[in-house]
Subunit: 316 residues, 2 copies
DNA sequence: GGAAAACTTGCTCACATGAGCACACGCATC
DNA sequence: GATGCGTGTGCTCATGTGAGCAAGTTTTCC
């Protein structure tokens, strides 16, 4: 059975929030003093009966952001609202836009910004306003010459971000994954590539996304891996990839041999970075997001509400 | 592209509603005067970006209630929240409970209350508190001797309501629908039945529900009609039944011959009643609810949010 | 049965907030 | 370049609201 005070607090809340009456007027209607009404309203709020939601594509969830900062090693977090959103694409767009906003407001402005590539990063680039910064050197931190269609997407992302920042782009002229370790070592020692990798290692900030470990991964899409290879990685515990490298739930490399053939910044370097912004959204990426956050691969997480709750280990 | 002020109002709303900051503090953060912040918040509210919802099984939607009173001929309306409810059963329970509350608060207390029977009415009876009134004569207004199982439900409902009101129940000792008009006329003229019908016609208030026109109808369930007969009625335009009589979208009797064999109060009597409370909830009953409201068959509607919006002709 | 504890109630006071107003700025027109 | 109009801004003032407090009431426990 429901408490009398509980029912009264609901009646009061209806009059207060729906009818915009003052607590005094409510008191007159319900035959209570205005202080009692105030207490009932406070009680209704405390019991969670009053739900206030900001419904807007650009709305953030500050409460969840704070919880993330407090309960994880993150130094900052941006959580976009998932209210009224049904598709993962929409969530990713919102997160990408939020990442663009975060980057724009980031102080100090990074002189060198290391970035990965992919659908999400492309959207971040689109979301940035021309002139968002003045003179940023954008460096690719993982191999990105696509093997089939989508050619140039990786490069275009870096160039767009750099142009809009009135700065320069430094591209990594290399595939993401090589077939032989020897080839990888050869490419890596090439002066043109080595210079970019060194520059990337010394970036003042990083911005990257992550991919889920399944056949829809960008690495499969780009032809670097087959769906079967990814399935095998999943069998070994892979939850997703970050800058081209597959990790398990603990944030460790899943397949050392594969990793030896992957070109790009090493995870240890990312872990040492003072500012590493991960943009990860969508229901398929909950596991990777969790792995990345708890293994210290990023200092800032830009994500959606549901993913954030998953990272915190709570039901949505 | 999104307006700068719009974005600012969202940021302000986040700080105000999620972080519980004062408008002054928000002003300090966003570098605005506190009046500007107040205006942005007002704007956010006006634009509908702020959604305040009362989540509680007993919560009502006063705004929708008012719209119902204004845009229909209803003298009063009770609309229960559908927040977080998935099943029609739950909606019906909530509406039934709300009807019980409404009846309890109804002034003047009806000396004679005419009621129909069915699942919903049974729940209303359950929801009433013992002693909700002092001395109400409860009269059945339509035939209700069940042909198979559920025997006694109709009678039990009337008796329960009467007992809890410290009053008396007057049962209508007759089936709902007869097979022959002659039988119906004979029963109707029987002194025991006629007296009850007269009493029912003179009731000071009515409380009834309505059934949808499909094979799950209570009349089919009780064996008065077959699923095929109901299908035929639907073909003729039936949207549902009220006190055992099937009506179309205009509130008119669908099948006059069938109606002649139905025992109970006539719809004209209901339309003349100063207080006729209809309790109708659930997604299957939108059409009947609409028909009943717009043909003046009730003066008070107790329903759920979605049905109310359907009655108002709006999307949910 | 009575004392102590826990809670509730009505209140004062200080702060937060919305309404209303005057002024300044941008814009078009003459 | 002056004039009038509409919009946006900062302010005063009145009202609404939450924190804290003392008295009253109920509950609990000996």
């Amino acid at each position: 059975m429901i408490d009398t005070d509980e029912l009264l607090s609901i009646r009061a809340a209806e009059l207060y929030y729906e009818e915009n009456k003052t607590q005094d007027e409510i008191g007159a209607v319900l035959r209570l003093t205005r202080w009692k009404v105030g207490r009932l309203l406070a009680q209704a709020k405390a019991s969670g009966f009053i739900r206030i939601e900001i419904v807007h594509p650009r709305a953030r969830r500050l409460i969840v952001e704070r919880r993330l900062r407090e309960h994880t090693g993150l130094s900052d977090a941006v959580v976009v609202s998932a209210a009224g959103v049904s598709t993962d694409e929409e969530l990713q767009s919102r997160a990408a836009q939020a990442a663009a906003d975060y980057l724009t407001a980031l102080r100090p402005v990074p002189s060198t910004l290391g970035i990965s590539w992919g659908r999400t990063l492309h959207e971040v680039a689109q979301g940035l306003k021309p002139g968002w910064a003045r003179g940023v050197n954008v460096v690719q931190i993982n191999g990105g010459v696509s093997l089939n269609r989508r050619t140039g997407t990786a490069a275009a992302t870096a160039v767009t971000i750099a142009q809009k920042a009135l700065g320069s782009a430094t591209l990594l002229p290399s595939p993401a994954i090589l077939e032989l370790v020897e080839t990888k070592l050869a490419i890596e020692s090439d002066r043109a590539v080595a210079t970019v990798l060194d520059l990337g290692s010394a970036a003042s900030a990083y911005l990257f996304s992550a991919g889920q470990a399944d056949e829809n991964s960008a690495l499969v899409d780009s032809g670097y891996l087959t769906a079967d290879q990814v399935a095998e990685l999943v069998r070994k515990g892979a939850v997703g990839d970050i800058v081209g490298r597959y990790i398990n739930a603990d944030g460790h490399i899943v397949d050392l041999e594969l990793d030896e053939r992957t070109i790009g910044i090493r995870l240890e370097q990312l872990r040492r970075a003072p500012t590493a912004i991960a943009v990860i959204a969508g229901s398929t990426k909950h596991a990777v997001a969790r792995a990345i956050v708890f293994s210290g691969l990023c200092t800032v997480l830009v994500t959606d509400e549901d993913t954030a709750l998953a990272v915190l280990g709570e039901a949505p």
